[in-house]
Amino acid sequence: MSVKVYISRDAAAVALGADETAHALQAAAQSRGQAIQIVRVGSRGMVWLEPLVEVEIAGERVGYGPVGAPDVDALLDSGLLNGAPHALRVGVVDQLPFIAKQERLTFARVGIIDPVDLDQYLEHGGYEGLRRALTLSGAEVVREVTDSGLRGRGGAAFPTGIKWKTVLDQQADQKYVVCNADEGDSGTFSDRMLMEGDPFTLIEGMTIAGTAVGATQGFIYLRAEYPHAAMALREAIGVARRLGSLGRNVLGSGKDFELEVRIGAGAYVCGEETSLLESLEGKRAEVRFRPPLPAVQGLFGKPTVINNVISLASLPVILQKGAAFYKDYGMGRSRGTLPIQLAGNIKHGGLVEKAFGVTLRELLYDFGGGSASGRPIRTVQVGGPLGAYIPESQFDVQLDYEAFTAIGALVGHGGIVAFDDTVDMAKMARYAMEFCAVESCGKCTPCRIGSIRGVEVMDRIMKDDERAANLKLLEDLCDTMQYGSLCGLGGMTPFPVMSALKHFPEDFNRDRG
């Protein structure tokens, strides 16, 4: 009987040496005549333990991590395959507080199953959501999604069901479903982990969307920086097509749904849905004026459902277990769960899926264990490069779209980047402007030129060149960008800049010598 060993194939694990660990373990076990079967899975989301090696013993997975290739021999000597004690042994993985305290709905299978093994997917509830959806009318599926309270997880938090209803109600010879997998926000990687760790969930979610609104073609627009995700998705799409859950006559329903992965070309602005559609059409990714909404005239002018990876990947569980089950999680108007990403200067970085309502403090200290450097956490940026910097005094805010708006911040895609007290907030504000200048699509003036002026103004402030006048100018400029930009890139760059100035004015007024 061979012992089952699980090692992640997630890009973050591979970046820390998971492939080398897997090869070393295979070779060492073989030379000792010990029979093992290594299963490459998604990541559990405990990045500080990667490469994590899990050994299956009596139905439970005992974890060791981080295990580098040079550790393998000593681990085998001390009885790795029996779950024996060792300095790197972390215990039964499901019982670790970081995992046990989560509420994993969308990520239920990630890190558990072989991402491209359809049988395992089915054993773990896969395609039950789509099967149920196919017994309902399009309008009933849309109502279920609306009732679940699901809001766009890409960051805009628009109710998914309402978007779908618009597409459903359009008469057209062709409709599309587009998945926005252009996850460009710093501090976010939940889309990537989902696509690499459980691609069938996204495929199933898109098939639910397509068959509900009458779209027969889907595109996943994936950023160029994610080659591992591209591989996993293409492999899974091939398997799904062969087994009839994708393509013509999906699961014998009489409905067709095709899916294609398209790779982006390194433009952050493509996370904005209309520029993404331009890019899919083969053009410069310049933001479109709205109206018309993509739901009315989207890809190639046709009605288009365009949703983020996590929104789409949340549909299978909603359809499988019902709107009420999903809606039961969360608080206020933020229903369900959010995969939160702990990033930057954090001791226990990784992915935490929790119902809305959890506080930043719980996330940063109970899950994250404080900063990686051991110094105090001075601020966190939530929601990517366009998100506000939040000071320690506001860490008790609950994760909730409305609560965050009330303090001038945003939840966005759920990425939390922690900074310790060595951070220079004036530099971060300058960087926000610089980033906007690099990534601006150039269509509107406030964003294209405002961001460049913003960098110059920040340079003058930091050099104490007419600081007071330039601080006033910075505020004016941010005002113009916020209200005059065509999309969120220029329109939200003021959030990190002004929040840094508001909460950390001492960094703007400091003499730098």
Partner: protein, 159 residues
């Protein structure tokens, strides 16, 4: 020295043929061409424009819009360093400065030995184990200056 000869023309034409019938084919074609030739030379722009019934200006506009598409031949390997906030929070700037010094090149530049082209990335999706770097398609985490040196030595000796 790069020469756009018969075999390059054939490579471009076969990429065009592969994608011409799919909707919105320009990005997949440009990507395919860059995979084949390492960059998108002006001769390829002209061929693509002609076959898609676009002007060269339109194709050039798309090539120049996206960071990923290169108009010049890169070094043997492309090094992408993440400059985004999560990597800055773990002192990514030290790795950045070190990399620029070691390679003797700024962003978009190539080291004198032609081995490495340095590019900036704005998030590689590895934000819990930064600073992050990609060499060609291989991702690395916790890239301190010392690990940068180690990795570059490894890649330099690759055949």
């Amino acid at each position: 020295m790069f020469v756009f000869g018969e075999s390059q023309a054939q490579a471009v034409d076969s990429v065009i043929a592969r994608f011409a019938d799919s909707p919105g084919p320009l990005l997949p074609i440009l990507r395919g061409v860059q995979d084949e030739l390492g960059f998108v030379p002006p001769e390829a722009v002209a061929r693509i424009a002609a076959s898609l019934n676009l002007s060269r200006a339109e194709v050039h506009g798309v090539v120049s819009f996206y960071d990923y598409f290169r108009q010049h031949q890169p070094g043997r390997h492309v090094v992408r360093l993440c400059r985004a906030e999560a990597c800055q929070a773990v002192n990514g700037e030290a790795t950045e400065a070190h990399a620029r010094r070691c390679l003797g090149a700024d962003y978009h530049g190539t080291s004198a030995d032609g081995q490495f082209t340095l590019e900036a990335a704005y998030c590689l999706g590895n934000c819990a184990a930064g600073p992050s770097m990609m060499i060609d398609d291989k991702l690395y985490g916790r890239v301190t200056p010392a690990r940068f040196d180690q990795l570059l030595t490894q890649w330099r000796s690759r055949q």
